[in-house]
């Protein structure tokens, strides 16, 4: 238990250490999502929206398949 709390405390310390190191320098955070006028952020957002919609569509599709199966079992015609 104490080991876990120690680990968590260390985790909390890491950002502090990192900030201490970069303080005074130019804060260069040019990771992928910030380049090109942040267009990648828009792409990510749209991808998330499309993923949500597609998951919804797939679940609708599966629900319908189940319903069809139920109906054919009930009345084999």
């Amino acid at each position: 238990m104490t080991r876990i709390t120690l680990f968590l405390q260390m985790l909390l310390l890491i950002p502090g250490l990192a900030m201490a190191q970069t303080a005074g320098q130019e804060v260069e955070m040019a990771d992928l999502l910030r380049s090109s006028g942040k267009i990648y952020v828009v792409v990510t957002v749209l991808t998330i929206i499309m993923t949500g919609l597609l998951i919804y569509l797939v679940s609708l599709d599966r629900k319908l398949s189940k319903l069809e199966k139920k109906l054919t079992e009930k009345s084999p015609s």
């Binding site: 267009i39 828009v42 991808t47 499309m50 609708l60 599709d61 599966r62 319908l64 109906l71 009345s75």
Partner: protein
């Protein structure tokens, strides 16, 4: 997940459209600027609509030949999906027009033609909704669908080419080139047409299956 291969294809192509559509380098055109990327969304809406409505027409003709209720259901659902794409096409086009031509709507043969087409297809939905008898509804709406499609082609395809218009693809015979398609645009544009079409077919398929189940319940 056990779903048909073309649904997977549609999903992959939609992701491709969104990701590549925003990230590929596009030609620098004055006034249009980055909005040329609308090509992958606005223009492909209309292409998808054309596919939906033409499929609907084919199914209507088949219904008139066969008299099968199934053909009628499929025809009407493809028409519905086509209308959805058409409305989306008009709305997106209006936004695009506002920021390139300066107005939400201009009196242009292409735009007015598209609006009339939508009204004609709205009438199709209303016509179907107003007839109780199933066979009568199927037959009348199938005949009306043929009429609607026959006005769609001159209004959207032929008439705008006979006059001048702000809208690309008017005046003369554009083929595919007046869209200022350079090879980069093509690389995303054609897949985007397939992507939105497949999505439309998928939604239509779900609606057809729902209607089929409803019909079993009634019978």
């Amino acid at each position: 997940m056990r779903i048909a291969w073309w649904k997977w294809l549609g999903m992959v192509l939609i992701y491709y459209t969104i990701i590549a559509g925003f990230l590929i380098p596009v030609p620098r055109i004055p006034i249009v600027h980055e909005s040329v990327r609308n090509q992958f969304f606005h223009v492909s809406m209309w292409f998808a609509m054309m596919t939906m409505l033409t499929t609907s027409l084919i199914l209507s003709v088949r219904y008139l030949k066969s008299g099968k209720a199934r053909h009628d259901i499929i025809a009407s659902e493809f028409a519905n999906m086509g209308i959805v794409f058409g409305v989306l096409g008009i709305c997106t086009g209006s936004v695009w027009a506002r920021f390139t031509w300066g107005a939400w709507w201009i009196s242009d043969p292409k735009l007015n033609g598209a609006a009339i087409c939508m009204l004609i297809y709205f009438a199709y939905v209303i016509l179907r909704g107003s007839i109780e008898d199933r066979q009568l509804r199927a037959r009348i709406s199938a005949v009306y669908n043929i009429f609607a499609w026959s006005t769609l082609i001159p209004l959207l395809v032929i008439l705008p080419r006979m006059t001048d218009s702000l809208h690309p693809g008017s005046g003369g015979n554009p083929g595919f080139n007046v869209y200022d398609l350079d090879n980069n645009l093509r690389l995303v544009f054609y897949p985007s047409v397939i992507a939105w079409t497949l999505l439309g077919v998928w939604i239509t398929e779900l609606r057809v299956r729902t209607k089929t189940i409803e019909n079993i319940e009634i019978a």
